[in-house]
Structure formats: structure tokens, C-alpha cells
């Protein structure tokens, strides 16, 4: 039995989360959603995850701050930040720092899937 890749979607835009979850389900991933950074941290603490897709601008704790905490809890966790601003600093840092990747809204979904699948290759996990 092949293990499904576990994905956490973090975005305050619930509609976007549902949409993304449908696609990820269809593509055969095991995806769950939360709508803020605190809940994301809780989930990561309790569960073993493979990929986190996270919005940068969220109420309460921002995506970048959450990223910092998540990296401490699970250093090997693959994080893909989703931002509405192409010129964001995270974008540039992300390009140089390979601990996380940045993708811009409205995202190219094929590209996003490709990013996720990259993790499979690296971690040798199957869908």
C-alpha cells in the first residue's frame, strides 16, 4: 500500500481552501485545511505532514511568522508560501533560501502540482 502525500492548506480565504482541496483530492493527495497560523501550528505538532501550502497575509499570525515556528517543529517539512504580491520580500528570499518556495496568486496550478510532486521525488513517497 502506497502512502498518500499529506498536505496542509493554510489560508484565511475559505473558498480558496475548498477549491484547492477539491483539486488536490482529485489529484490523489491527502489534503486538509485550516484558516489561520495558530491552527496550522497545532496540526503540524500533532500530525506528520509532507507539504504545507500557506498564504502569507493572514489575520493574527502571518504566513512568514508561522513558517518560522513550523520550521522549528518540523525542520524537514516542505513549505510553499502563496502570496498575492509578486514583489514581496518573501519572494526573493524564497528564491535564495531553499527551505521554502513561493508561488504567486493567482497561481499556476500545474506549477503548484509540480512543486508538490518534487517532494515525492525527494522523499520517495508515493501518492
Amino acid at each position: 500500500m502506497k502512502k498518500k502525500l499529506k498536505i496542509l492548506v493554510v489560508d484565511d480565504n475559505e473558498c480558496l481552501c475548498k477549491n484547492l482541496l477539491d483539486i488536490l483530492d482529485f489529484k490523489g493527495f491527502d489534503a486538509i485545511e485550516v484558516h489561520d497560523g495558530y491552527k496550522a501550528i497545532e496540526i503540524v505538532k500533532k500530525n506528520e505532514l509532507d507539504v504545507v501550502l500557506m498564504d502569507v497575509k493572514m489575520p493574527g499570525i502571518s504566513g512568514v511568522e508561522t513558517l518560522g515556528i513550523l520550521k522549528k517543529i518540523a525542520p524537514n517539512l516542505k513549505v510553499i508560501l502563496i502570496t498575492a504580491f509578486a514583489d514581496d520580500e518573501v519572494f526573493k528570499i524564497g528564491l535564495e533560501d531553499c527551505t521554502y518556495t513561493v508561488i504567486q496568486k493567482p497561481m499556476d496550478i500545474d506549477k503548484l502540482i509540480a512543486m508538490i510532486e518534487e517532494v515525492i521525488k525527494n522523499n520517495n513517497i508515493t501518492k
Binding site: 480565504n13 480558496l16 477549491n19 477539491d22 483539486i23 497575509k57 498575492a84 493567482p106 496550478i109
Partner: protein
């Protein structure tokens, strides 16, 4: 022997004595200096009058001394002349002293001495001519001598410069001797000191009559004074040269001022004819200086506006205070130049009539600046709004995109029509995102993130990004070898996306898009050619202006951003277009070999 010679020829001595002083007096009046900076020039007339009166007095004495011509009225005439001459000498000396010593007694001392002399003459039976010598002659000559001394001490620098210092000194010495010879050595009389010190005792002692010495003094004084008088003409020459130089300097300065004025400058006469212009006027309005001269100011103003000038009675008004208003000047090539014009009167000066000065400020630049300012204010406001809206809209677009993706993924394979429609939605999402990108990038100034990149790859990815419709025939002729330039990938992508989207809009869904690249020397040329609607001639000048758009739903910043990006890459962008036929966009970049 000598005594008898002089005694016998005393008339000759008197003649020369009188002549010397008379010449001095006449010379002073003939050369009476005007506008001299030396205050002594203002009082020399007194010395002149002394010379004339005393000279005449000496000539009158010839008859008395040598011909023994005596009568009461004759004596009275002589005394009047001699006394008056000494009064002038005393007054001259007093004023000369006052030039150096401010506290020296004023004119009342002269009046007092005259009154004292008159009283003495009236009361005493002595020879009145002796009294006038004692009371006025001696002090007059003596203070004159002192005055000359102190004057040449005080003004030594200036006097030396004009080479008359020595003459002042000679005059002072001669005057000092003269004061004793004429004021103390008097005719013998039976009262002290004339009883002991007189011309007879002088003759016995010196063996030469006192008149000879007086004559010598008179000649020295006259000779010195004549030389002093030259100083004033030298001064005038020097001053003339100075003022000529000064005038020349002023002229140069005036010309410099005029040429450094950066506004249009016209000087018109009272008949509204132009009589002088500056270079700016020639440059802006296109006339040569020769063409300007004689032209009426009304030739430069629009017909409708002439009335407004005339009605304001320009010339009359400008006499009271400068007036200014905005109008359009007409250049030689019929171009209208909006200016803020000021008319002010140049007052008439000797030998010249009044003119009117027109200074016209070219308002084109100011108007551009104002527009730029308004644009930048728009930008700042837009930036704030764009930041918020950009974020929100991108979230919405992301949701839409996810939905279309899901629908295409799940049902698209079975339903071609739905697939096509979902693609249309995707295209709109993409364009909306580019609009957001444009607005965001235009409202922020960004530094380029320069890297060596392949232009061909960027063009290809831009073509992919804008998702060109199937009915548009895309022909790409892109060099196979890498087209290396130093550039910002994101910005260049934006540049080509903007140009391509414009072309796609112009073709309205159908047409041919040719994208070619070529390398010419050190430049890489990118040509993007479409056969769309093209750009109207009158719009072609405005296409790079921000917010200029002919589309009903355009933002008008796509090409402005494109131009800005090209400029930041030190490239060039040219757009050729024919309305109804199509548009050609040529972009040049500097090639980077390594």
C-alpha cells in the same frame, strides 16, 4: 648800484608783480574746475579774485610809487582794491583751513576782521593801507600758507598720484614768505611795528626792495597754482577713462544679464514694434534677431487675443504698474507657445524714448510639470488603492482559477465547448492579473534586479504567459543562439506581456503576430508586428503618456510601464503604426557578450 637799479625800475617790478597775480586770477577763472572730487576746487575762485584785485592794485601802485601820482580819491581806490584783495585772500585761507580743520572759525571771523579794520581806519589817522596789510593781508596769506600745508599733508596720496603734491608745497612756502613780505614789511609809519619793520629798513638790510621779493613770491605762487590747475584736467581725463570703463563694464554686465534670462525677452517701442530680443526669444519663436526687429508684437499674438491686449490698453497700463497675463504666442512655424507675459515700462532716459519690456515665460514646461505632479499624486493615491485591491482581487482570481482548473480537469475532456469557455475565463483571469501587476509596478518605483539573461527565453515565456488565441497566427523568428543582455527577468517579462497584450487587443481575436529578433552590432533588436487596428496619427504622440488610453476599459499605463522598463535597461523603444493596417514595435537592447 643794485639798489638804484631796482629803485629806478620799480615800475617794471610792479608791473610783473601785478601781472603774475592777474594771470593767476584769470587762469583760475578760465580753468575753474567743475565736478572735481577735490574740495579745494570749490574755493579757488576766492584766490582768483584775490589775484585779479591784487594785480590791478599793483598796477595802480605803479603810478603812485614811480610817478608820484597822489590824490585822496586815487589813494582811496588803491586802498579799496588792496583791502578787497586781502579780504578774498583771508576768506580763501580760512576756508582752506576749514577743509582740514573742521573747527576752524566760520565766516563771521572774516566779517569781524573787516569790521575791525573799518573801525581802525575810521578812528586812526595812520595809513589805512598799512592797517589792511596788518589786519587782513598778513593773517590771510599766513592761514592760506598753513591751509596749503595741511591740505597737502591730508591729501598727500591723491596729490602725489596726480603729481601736484610739490606744487602745493611750493605754493605753501611761497605763501608763507609772501605773508611776511606783504603783511609785515609795510611802508614806514610812525607807529609800532611799522616804525621799525618797514620797506626802508628791509632795503637797508637786504639791499633789494621788498617789492622784488614780493614779485618773486607772486611768480612762484602763480606758477605753482597754474600747475595745480592742470591737476583738475588730469583728474577729468582719469575720471572720463574710469567712467568709460565703468560704462563699458555696465554694458557687458547688462548684456550678460539679458543673455542669462531664461525667458523670452522682447523690448517694444510705444508703437508696439519690436526693437530688441534675446536669444531665448529667437530659439523659442523661431525668428532670427533681424526678422524680429520691426515686427509688431501683434504679429506674435492670436487674433482673438490681440483684442484682449488692446482692450487692456497695455501701454497705458504698463506705465502705472507691470501687468501680466497668460496668452499664446505664435511661433514662426505657427506653433502656439503658451506663455505668462509681463509688460512693464522702461522709463525714458535722456535722448531715448520710453519702451516696454515684455518678459514671456514659456509655460509648456510648467504645464508639463503640473501634469507630472498631478500624475504623481494620482500615482501615490493609486498605489495605496492598488495595494489593497491588488491583494483582494488576486485572492478572487486565485479562487476563479482554481475553479476553472477543477472544472477543466474533471469535465473538460468530455465537453469541448465547456473547455473553450473555461479557457476564455482563464484568459480574462490572466489579463486581469497583468492589469493588477501593471498598476502595482507603476505605483512603486523599483530597482532592477539585474542578471545576465537570455532575451529569447523571456520572449518565449511571455508568449506562453499571455496565452495567445488559436485564431491568431503567431510567427516567431528568434535567434537560436542565446541573446544575452543584462536585465531584470520579471520586468522584461512584464514589458513583453504588455506589448503582446496590446497587439492581441488590436487584432481583436484574429490576425497575424510576427515576433522577430536580430543582432545588429552590439544591439539586439526585437520587432513585434501585428496587423491589428493600428494607432491614429494624433494619438501616436501620446501613447507613452501614463493614463492615456483609447480603449474603453484600459488603464493607459501598459506602454508607459513598457517604456520605463526599456529606459531602465538603457534600451530604446519605437512604435510605428498606420491606422487600419497594424503596428510595429521595435525594442533595442545592448548586447552582453559574456
Amino acid at each position: 648800484m643794485l639798489i638804484t637799479f631796482f629803485i629806478n625800475n620799480l615800475d617794471v617790478v610792479f608791473f610783473f608783480y601785478g601781472l603774475a597775480f592777474f594771470v593767476m586770477g584769470v587762469s583760475i577763472f578760465m580753468n575753474l574746475p567743475r565736478d572735481s572730487s577735490f574740495k579745494v576746487s570749490k574755493i579757488l575762485w576766492l584766490l582768483g579774485l584775490f589775484g585779479i584785485f591784487h594785480g590791478i592794485n599793483a598796477w595802480l601802485d605803479i603810478f603812485t610809487v614811480t610817478r608820484d601820482y597822489k590824490s585822496q580819491s586815487w589813494d582811496l581806490i588803491r586802498i579799496v582794491f588792496s583791502s578787497i584783495s586781502f579780504i578774498f585772500l583771508f576768506e580763501f585761507g580760512r576756508r582752506l583751513m576749514k577743509l582740514t580743520f573742521k573747527k576752524f572759525p566760520n565766516k563771521w571771523i572774516t566779517f569781524a576782521l573787516i569790521a575791525f579794520m573799518g573801525l581802525c581806519m575810521f578812528l586812526s589817522k595812520h595809513d589805512v593801507s598799512i592797517l589792511s596789510r596788518y589786519i587782513l593781508g598778513f593773517p590771510g596769506a599766513f592761514i592760506s600758507a598753513l591751509g596749503f600745508f595741511s591740505y597737502c599733508k591730508g591729501k598727500s596720496e591723491e596729490l602725489k598720484e596726480l603729481k601736484v603734491f610739490n606744487y602745493f608745497l611750493f605754493t605753501a612756502f611761497a605763501m608763507a614768505f609772501y605773508s611776511v613780505l606783504a603783511g609785515i614789511i609795510v611802508s614806514k609809519a610812525n607807529f609800532f611795528p611799522a616804525f621799525y619793520i618797514n620797506d626802508e629798513s628791509f632795503l637797508k638790510f637786504m639791499l633789494v626792495p621788498v617789492q622784488v621779493f614780493r614779485t618773486l613770491c607772486a611768480i612762484i605762487i602763480t606758477w605753482s597754482v597754474l600747475n595745480i590747475l592742470k591737476m583738475f584736467s588730469i583728474e577729468i581725463t582719469v575720471n572720463l577713462l574710469k567712467s568709460k570703463k565703468l560704462a563699458e563694464n555696465y554694458m557687458v554686465e547688462l548684456k550678460n544679464i539679458i543673455s542669462s534670462i531664461r525667458d523670452i525677452l522682447l523690448i517694444i517701442d510705444l508703437d508696439n514694434k519690436i526693437i530688441q530680443v534675446n536669444k531665448v526669444a529667437c530659439r523659442v519663436l523661431g525668428y532670427t534677431e533681424e526678422e524680429f526687429i520691426g515686427l509688431s508684437i501683434y504679429n506674435l499674438v492670436e487674433k482673438e487675443e490681440i483684442d484682449s491686449i488692446k482692450n487692456r490698453e497695455l501701454i497705458k497700463l504698463s506705465k502705472i504698474r507691470p501687468i501680466n497675463f497668460e496668452l499664446n504666442l505664435i511661433a514662426k512655424d505657427n506653433k502656439r507657445v503658451p506663455v505668462l507675459i509681463t509688460f512693464s515700462l522702461i522709463k525714458a532716459i535722456e535722448g531715448k524714448s520710453a519702451n516696454v519690456l515684455c518678459v514671456a515665460k514659456d509655460m509648456r514646461e510648467l504645464k508639463n510639470l503640473k501634469k507630472k505632479l498631478a500624475d504623481s499624486e494620482k500615482l501615490a493615491a493609486m498605489g495605496k488603492v492598488a495595494n489593497v485591491l491588488g491583494h483582494e482581487f488576486r485572492n478572487q482570481l486565485a479562487v476563479m482559477k482554481l475553479s476553472t482548473y477543477f472544472l477543466k480537469m474533471k469535465y473538460g475532456d468530455n465537453d469541448e465547448v465547456m473547455y473553450k469557455h473555461l479557457n476564455l475565463v482563464d484568459e480574462r483571469i490572466l489579463e486581469s492579473n497583468i492589469i493588477i501587476e501593471n498598476i502595482l509596478s507603476f505605483s512603486r518605483t523599483k530597482k532592477l534586479d539585474l542578471k545576465i539573461i537570455d532575451l529569447g527565453g523571456i520572449i518565449m515565456s511571455s508568449i506562453v504567459k499571455v496565452q495567445i488565441h488559436d485564431e491568431i497566427d503567431v510567427i516567431t523568428e528568434i535567434n537560436k543562439e542565446p541573446l544575452r543582455i543584462e536585465g531584470d527577468e520579471i520586468q522584461l517579462n512584464r514589458l513583453f506581456s504588455n506589448i503582446l497584450i496590446n497587439s492581441l487587443h488590436a487584432m481583436e481575436g484574429k490576425g497575424q503576430l510576427i515576433i522577430t529578433t536580430s543582432v545588429v552590432n552590439c544591439e539586439i533588436l526585437v520587432l513585434i508586428k501585428d496587423n491589428g487596428v493600428g494607432i491614429k496619427k494624433e494619438d501616436l504622440n501620446h501613447i507613452f503618456e501614463p493614463f492615456f488610453t483609447t480603449k474603453s476599459n484600459g488603464t493607459g499605463i501598459g506602454l508607459a510601464i513598457a517604456q520605463n522598463i526599456v529606459k531602465l535597461h538603457r534600451g530604446e523603444i519605437q512604435i510605428k503604426s498606420e491606422f487600419g493596417k497594424g503596428t510595429e514595435v521595435l525594442i533595442k537592447f545592448l548586447r552582453k557578450d559574456k
